[in-house]
């Protein structure tokens, strides 16, 4: 066929084209990055996208900094901290730090920022990041006190990442709208241009404080562009217009790696996939109410097979509703092997020897969903599959409209079980089981500051969730990165690319 011929020529031309790529990146000290979505705002407190988190680490600093390799909390804008009591934290602040616009960093900035974002009228998001402290006090030019509402063990986790410090004079003057157009922070990169939703330009901040655990940035300029279409991102990479892309699909990544013209790396993320069931009958009386049916489904899904064939990379099957590195997470819970015969047996016991039909909802990874549907069909379960956009999916689920769905959760890269298990199983809008025991244990874990108490409580909760299959954990996700061979970049398992640690080769 004429088209087939044309396409053979195309692939040959493509191969020829790739080898002649001129890397503009290194020659003008600019790293060109592509992301796939529009950011609603660059202001750290007014966006919820992962890309927003990436930019936030570049432009702003928090009081502490979690080392991605050791998960230790290192001093950044604060030189030290102290738990005065279980709900009060005191910080000594670093002197000699300046914002990109010349303002000096001191206690006023900390107090203003924390007061502003914790005020619900200001609508900072996500709310769970900023709603756990009561007030801030300035104890001196470089000393502040933070009063929590109640025990909150994840406090340090938040203060070492998402809770960044804004310049009080500037922010008071321009507010979130101004900050979104002209961001100012203390971070290793300063923003030089913002075209909202389209393109963001960054320049290394040479006045960055030298004692920062983030280190000094090596690459002089970074340009982040939104390119929604994945093939266009690849074309830009091949033609040299873009130097770095991520979230590359596994099949694409494997072939790019095979061609050998670009560096391809894979890294795990904190995101896990899960199946959610209407255990309590919140949606209706349906087969999912019966624990035997849920256990049957747990045995019916070939998670290992799907991970090996589709998810690939550094992903693995998970057995509890959390990511293994998260504090409180344990794989020592009831497990389910892939056993379609057992599944059919359990279904028969529950009275569904001939199977049944049920609506099934998902918003991403359609092919994984289809593979799971295939598994379900094999044991007699038919699905009415509905594939929605995320917003519609979330609304329908939270409205009680879905007895069976496939979702994922990235925990906003917060390395703590409270960021995922408690979100789904503490009686909230996504909770379709509202089990008293689980809610109680999670409550204990969420509010204690004793690590042993927390671990035990979370283990109890996770065991019960897996035992009763209120939700069925599937696998962890991974991200593929592809970038120019002139770039030395190492991904981190928290899925937050740090361009300030990247270098030219």
């Amino acid at each position: 066929m004429k088209r087939q011929f044309l396409l053979t020529i195309t692939s040959m031309a493509l191969a020829a084209g790739i080898s002649g790529v001129a890397h503009a990146g290194k020659s003008d000290d600019t790293l060109n990055v592509a992301i796939d979505r529009e950011l609603e705002s660059v202001d750290n407190y007014y966006n919820t996208a992962r890309e927003g988190i990436v930019i936030s680490r570049m432009v702003w600093d928090a009081l502490l900094y979690r080392d991605p390799a050791t998960n230790e909390y290192l001093p950044n804008l604060a030189t030290s901290y102290k738990w005065v009591d279980s709900t009060t934290l005191e910080f000594d602040l670093r002197q000699g730090v300046t914002f990109h616009n010349g303002e000096k960093f001191d206690a006023d900035d900390v107090v203003y920022t924390l007061d502003y974002v914790s005020d619900p009228n200001n609508g900072a998001k996500p709310a769970r990041n900023v709603n756990w402290w009561e007030s801030t006090e300035k104890l001196g030019d470089y000393k502040v006190r933070l009063n929590l509402k109640k025990e909150f063990p994840a406090a340090l986790e938040f203060l070492s990442g998402p809770i960044v410090m804004y310049p009080n004079e500037y922010y008071a003057e321009v507010g979130p709208e101004g900050m979104a157009l002209k961001p100012v922070g203390t971070g290793p990169y300063a923003v030089t241009s913002v075209e909202p939703g389209k393109r963001y330009k960054f320049k290394r901040y040479d006045g960055y404080h030298s004692s920062s655990p983030k280190g000094q940035a090596s690459i002089g300029n970074v340009v982040i562009r939104t390119i929604a279409e994945s093939n266009t991102q690849l074309a830009e990479l091949f033609s040299g217009g873009i130097d770095w892309i991520w979230k590359v699909k596994p099949d694409q990544a494997e072939r790019i790696e095979a061609q050998g013209q670009f560096t391809v790396k894979n890294s795990s993320t904190m995101r896990i996939g899960y199946l959610n069931f209407d255990a309590m009958g919140r949606h209706s009386k349906n087969p999912m109410n019966d624990v035997r049916v849920r256990r049957a489904i747990a045995h019916a899904i070939d998670r290992e097979g799907i991970v090996n064939a589709l998810v690939k990379g550094e992903s693995m099957v998970v057995h509890s509703l959390c990511f293994p590195s998260q504090f409180g997470c344990t794989q020592d819970v009831p497990k389910y092997d892939y056993n379609p015969e057992k599944a059919k047996q359990l279904l028969a016991e529950a009275g569904y020897a001939d199977g049944f039909e049920i609506p099934f909802l998902a918003y991403r990874n359609r092919d994984y969903a289809e593979a799971m549907i295939n598994n379900l069909n094999a044991v007699g379960i038919k699905t009415n599959f509905e594939y929605l956009k995320y917003a519609a999916f979330r609304d329908k689920v939270q409205d009680g409209g879905s007895p069976f769905n496939f979702g994922t959760w990235g925990s906003y890269s917060i390395n703590d079980v409270s960021a995922i298990t408690s979100h789904f199983q503490s009686g909230g809008k996504d909770d379709y089981s509202k089990d008293a025991e689980v809610i109680k244990q999670l409550g204990i874990g969420d509010s204690s500051v004793d690590p042993t108490v927390r671990k035990d409580a979370y283990k109890a909760a996770l065991s019960r969730i897996s035992g009763e299959v209120f939700m069925f954990p599937l696998w962890s996700y991974n991200t593929w990165y592809a970038f120019s061979k002139e770039v030395d970049f190492n991904p981190t398992p928290d899925e937050i690319p740090r361009f300030f640690t990247a270098k030219w080769l």
Binding site: T48, P126, T226, N231, A235
Partner: protein, 305 residues
Amino acid sequence: MIYYTIKRLGLALLVALTVSFISFGLLYLSSDPAIAMAGETASDADIEAIRKLYGFDRPILVQYFDWLQRAMGGDLGKSYYFRTDVSALIGERLPTTMTLGVCAITFAIVLSVPLGVAAAIRPNSLVDRVALFLSVMGQALPSFWFALMLIVFLSVNLRLLPTSGSDTWLHFVMPTVVLGYYAAPAIMRLTRTGMLEVLSTDYIRTARAKGLRPWVVLFKHALRNAIIPVVSLAAVQFGFMLGGSIVVETIFALHGAGFLAWESITRNDLPTVQGLILVFSLFYIVLTFFADLLNAWLDPRIRIN
């Protein structure tokens, strides 16, 4: 002529209102505005509060007229996603789409009209067959495939053009071709048909018999009459382009109003979608309105009808 103009204008406005109302209704039926506005982390209480505060519990007609009233004063509300004024947002993105649309329709006309004329002069010849084949090809080729193939050949391989973005006029070349080729077949066929009809009429034969040069006959007499339905069609196609630009803008990272429309729909950003529909349908209606006027000026018989 004046009466004709006023009549068409009134009709155009009525159409705009109807389209905007139907779209409004469809949007509200497909997603709950209170949830869309409240966002992910809002509690049930928050959502109910928003529902009361913004009057989302009122009958649809009331809500629509409320919105319409504000829209007529230029206030299209605030985007749920960007939290900025919808009018500012659209104002920022629309020029890209308009530029693309104008270039594309120009390209389509420049490509199709001469081709249609050539095909009409020699019916059933090679030119004619090629033209017809191209026109079918134009309608059966998926635009995203065409766009990406152009990128691979012209940008990745030959380095003649930039891949994506909207910085320079070079960035608009491929998007123009991709968007324009979709409208080209219809324009080509219509031109060809019109010319065929006109060329066989008496007055053309008379003109030829009078000894007028072929070019003069062709352009001054034949084309002027054949072009009438093409003008309307071009306007209609331009209107379609505003919708078809979604794919082109997505692939070429053009960040115009088409891309905004699609993203806003998937993000449940109702005010932006409503604003865009209003703007698009107004444009479309203005276009067809002017096309009608142009036709009426070209052919007085239409005015009398």
